[in-house]
């Protein structure tokens, strides 16, 4: 009897330890999900998971004291930095006709690699929008890797000041700046460019981010087919509402 009680006690203790471990694990998962941005209310700046926390192997990317998200609608800053080759450059994003999409990326960030690849393959952007990749200063990056990663035809600016000015919480991070007002229209991060594109489409209301123009082209093709069909019908003597276009039905609904 004593042995049975002892065995039961041990079993209960073991089970208690297991349950405690599970609860702790669950709490850790919830905390990480919260860090990743899950549960962020729609309308706030970052709707997507922040890969900064997930990419812990990349080292710290978020400066101390900088919030994980920054308020949308704040003023953007013009860019002053260097090219990957070290040449000085200064680009306008404020008080200009065109909008600018700033993609804050790094040469050492694991998640950024998918963004580099997506930009190299070409991404959908609203018409007239300029894409600029912003990395930290060359002293904080690997210029050789950056040179390999940099997509053809995309401006790359190395500027840690731009990261500070835009309160970038970590990489990758994307900011859409309205050129005429110089204010941020949308910003956020995600595990892929597609996720960020959806975020920016939500924030800016511009479906071009998610291939809107391509859908529009498909719709235009449909319209052209409709016009061709209408023209053929008219040439054959069929006008809108022509009785011959309707197949008479029997009273039970079947075709005659």
């Amino acid at each position: 009897m004593t042995a049975l009680v002892l065995a039961l006690t041990v079993t209960v203790v073991v089970l208690a330890v297991l349950v405690a471990g599970l609860l702790r694990s669950h709490a850790t998962i919830l905390r990480r999900l919260h860090e990743l941005g899950a549960g962020v209310e729609p309308g706030t700046a970052t709707l997507l998971p922040s890969v900064d926390a997930a990419a812990s192997d990349d080292g710290p990317r978020r400066p101390a004291g900088v919030p994980e998200t920054a308020p949308t609608g704040r003023a953007a800053s013009d860019l002053v930095g260097t090219s990957i080759g070290g040449d000085a450059l200064a680009l306008r994003v404020r008080n200009v006709e065109h909008d600018t999409v700033l993609a804050f990326l790094s040469s050492g960030c694991t998640t950024c690699s998918g963004f580099w690849e997506a930009l190299d393959e070409g991404v959908d952007l609203p018409a007239g929008t300029r894409l600029v990749v912003v990395t930290r200063d060359l002293a904080e990056e690997s210029p050789a890797i950056l040179a390999d990663l940099a997509p053809d035809g995309v401006t790359v600016v190395c500027s840690s000041a731009a990261w500070r000015d835009h309160a970038v919480p970590g990489s990758p991070y994307v900011v859409h700046v309205d050129g005429p007002s110089g204010r941020v229209r949308g910003e956020g991060t995600g595990g892929s460019w597609e996720q960020v594109a959806r975020l920016l489409a939500d924030a800016t209301g511009d479906l071009a981010y998610v291939g809107g123009p391509r859908r529009a082209r498909r719709a235009a093709a449909d319209l052209r087919r409709e016009e061709d069909t209408d023209r053929a019908l008219l040439e054959a003597g069929f006008v809108p509402g022509d009785d011959r276009l309707w197949i008479p039905l029997d009273t039970d609904g079947s075709h005659t």
Partner: protein
């Protein structure tokens, strides 16, 4: 917004941006007088524009002048090697900082594009030899754009080579 490198600096007026490039290849230049000269690799080229500069540009703005609009202006300040200092081609003293519509002509363009007008001047300042090349998006706006370019050039300073 201030941009400086290689002893050149520019305070950019509103709406203007700029970028330095360092020549990777030596582009040959044939002037109206038929003289061929060549920029020296590692010497700087400063590009200024009142529109978004595309990333891939030639020293004389190829790639940029193709996308500029009628109200846009493109400026290139190219340095040439020390052997050019004191030659007749670069005898004009100082960067021309006051330009008028009459200074521009389609014939001065490196590549003729419909409606555009250009200016090309070789000069020496601070003991360094340069070429100023300017393209206006449309010669119909030359008076306005020449004034805008002049205001931009007024804020360009050239010192001894860094």
């Amino acid at each position: 917004m201030r941009l400086s490198s290689h002893g050149l600096s520019a305070v950019l007026p509103s709406g203007w941006e700029g970028a330095f490039t360092t020549a990777r290849e030596a582009p040959a230049v044939r002037t109206a007088a038929g003289v061929t000269t060549r920029a020296v690799p590692s010497l700087p080229t400063l590009h200024l524009a009142n529109f978004a500069l595309p990333p891939d540009r030639g020293d004389f703005g190829s790639g940029a002048v193709d996308v500029m609009g009628a109200r846009h202006a493109f400026v290139s300040v190219l340095e040439y090697g020390p052997e050019c200092v004191g030659t007749a081609l670069f005898s004009e003293a100082g960067l021309p900082r006051h330009l008028t519509a009459g200074d521009f002509s389609p014939r001065a363009l490196q590549r003729t594009r419909s409606g555009q007008a250009g200016l090309q001047v070789f000069f020496t300042e601070a003991g360094r030899a340069f070429c100023l090349y300017v393209v206006l998006g449309h010669r119909g706006n030359a008076a306005t754009l020449a004034g805008e370019v002049s205001r931009t050039l007024a804020n360009v300073t050239i010192g001894p080579a860094a």
